[in-house]
Amino acid sequence: MANGRIAEFEKDIAELEQQIARLQVLAEQRGLDVADEIRILEQKLARLKEAAFRNLTAIERVQLARHPKRPYTLDYIARAFTDFIELAGDRAYRNDEAIVGGWARLEGRTVMVIGHQKGRDMKENLRRNFGMPHPEGYRKALRLMKLAEKFGHPVVTLIDTPGAYPGIGAEERGQAEAIARNLREMAALRVPLVSVVIGEGGSGGALALGVTDRILMFENSIYSVISPEGCAAILWKTAEARDKAAEALKLTAPDLAALGVVDEVIPEPLGGAHSDWDGAAQALRAALCRHLDELERLPVDELRQRRWQKFEAMGEWRVAGAAAS
């Protein structure tokens, strides 16, 4: 749930939006010309949104990334893609609904689209396990990626998970092995891969869909090795330090672009992706098409070579006695 400063702003924004809507209805009913008044109110609304979304703190971005009205994978698939056919199951144990995937078209071209799927309400969340996959979810994802490879189509993944589920069944069925295998197999896949963090990029559970030629992030999404809450509890020994941990972890899209991990930050409509699903989906489609166009031109050996170099270059170290690399 969004809270703090964002929630305050959102309340004000919602009030103003209602005011404009009421005015429009009133004008229509009585045949009045209120264009000027509406323009003034809309300007005020834009200023309010700008003020709210300029200089967001790390924890505010975390809240936006987890916003309950944010578009999820299937919302993007419905808007940015066409001709989607969902494919289910890992062919070994069960169909994990915390991950969805299937064939779809992106401006005509066939891609395999795979993503974490959160639930919109409690009932759906029980089915989707709040977007926290079990091993069978990752194995389904890998099956679909191999299918894409078999028929020579690119893979698009949408990342949005608090993390891989930490439970007894998940451990019994090899959560670690399922994630590890995806990392290795994605690194070797002979078709282009693009991942987009659309909301929460929660650690290994996110990375298991993230070993890709390009890594994109929505402006208000996050990607982190651990949740700010978890990090605060371990390193600061108190959950109260959540805001500090969020800041220290450098988990926002601009931070990650500065660290060289993310290839492109996709700007969100003013007011955040949750305020304009269509606008966000449009931005997603445009970015994906651009990157796929570039990647599909590369011969497969060069594509893989570049992918390996990309990940091999990640990290920062120094040689003892010398300056940082």
């Binding site: 007894i168 290994g204 298991a208 090795v225 120094r318």
Partner: protein, 314 residues
């Protein structure tokens, strides 16, 4: 009795307590008081109950490689502070403290080349004493580099893991080391170069969810904690106590996640036998074996297949 003597006795007891700390160690499982020199000779395996106490990273190098063959690589790599991370302490201070500890290899892994029963191998051993064996950029880089050496030389890779997971102080860069190391393993896999992963107590988090689980053969030491999520996190999530033996090596063997549980005293010989199979080499001659297993005196497993033996013991 006579309470006049009490201060005297106290003094004596203190003297006694100081001495044993260096000379004796108590087995955490059976409680046996062990003579430290004898314990070390037995590779830190309790001679009484077989419990595997922690062995240092340097200890594994000595255990696995033929004497005098180890050549360390990248021993001069040190962590940077890419995030300028400060929690209760600045990250560089934590690094300095870890590095000052005797036996440190500069970060949480030591890598190099050497011979194992005469077979040229590339080896990485994680050091749990260095910030909980956590994987940051240096761990990922050293493992990736030794993997590339294995690829170039077409020599088998052996990684001995012991880790609490990713190093939070390096944020996303630590997470990306999982991808980096797995990408190198993908290349080894395609080149059909053997990779043996040895999981020791404890191996959890990002290390388990990357190279530790990707062995052509995964070997676990007895009783090691191995998992993705730590037991505390799972307990907090599901709000119930975990079953006895959960996430221990024996549990992983039962659930098909490791190939075998191998007693530390049999580890070198087992790896050598596996490598000879995978590399298409003939079985070792008896004479060679005698020399190589000389250090595993007291193992009591002569001639027996270690994996089969351990399975039977379950």
């Amino acid at each position: 009795m006579s309470w006049f003597r009490k201060p005297e006795r106290k003094l004596k007891a203190e003297e006694k307590r100081e001495l044993p700390a260096d000379v004796f160690e108590k087995c955490p499982r059976c409680g046996e008081i062990l003579y430290r020199a004898r314990l070390e000779q037995n590779l830190n395996v309790c001679p009484s109950c077989g419990f595997h106490l922690r062995l240092s990273a340097g200890g594994y190098v000595a255990l696995l490689l033929d004497e005098g063959t180890f050549e360390e690589r990248d021993g001069d790599l040190r962590s940077g502070d890419p995030l300028k991370f400060t929690d209760l302490k600045p990250y560089p201070q934590r690094l300095e403290a870890a590095e000052r500890r005797p036996g440190s290899f500069g970060d949480a892994v030591v890598t190099g080349t050497g011979r194992l029963e005469g077979i040229g191998v590339c080896l990485a051993v994680m050091d749990f004493e260095f910030i909980g064996g956590s994987m940051g950029s240096v761990v990922g880089e050293k493992i990736a580099r030794i993997g590339l050496v294995a690829l170039e030389r077409r020599q088998p890779l052996i990684v001995v893991s012991a880790s609490g997971g990713a190093r939070m102080q390096e944020g996303i860069l630590s997470l990306m080391q999982m991808a980096k190391t797995s990408a190198v393993l993908a290349r080894l896999h395609e080149a059909r170069i053997p990779y043996i992963s040895v999981l020791t107590n404890p191996t959890t988090g990002g290390v388990t969810a990357s190279y530790a689980m990707l062995g052509d053969v995964n070997l676990a030491e007895p009783g090691a904690l191995i998992g993705f999520a730590g037991p505390r996190v799972i307990e907090q999530t599901i709000k119930q106590a975990l079953p006895e033996g959960f996430q221990r090596s024996e549990f992983l063997l039962e659930h098909g996640m490791v190939d075998a549980i191998v007693d530390r005293r049999e580890l070198k010989r087992t790896i050598a036998r596996l490598l000879r199979h995978m590399l298409g080499l003939p079985e070792a001659v008896a004479a060679g074996r005698t020399v190589d297993t000389a250090q595993a005196v007291g193992a009591g497993g002569e001639g027996a297949a270690p994996a089969g033996k351990d399975r039977a013991a379950d």
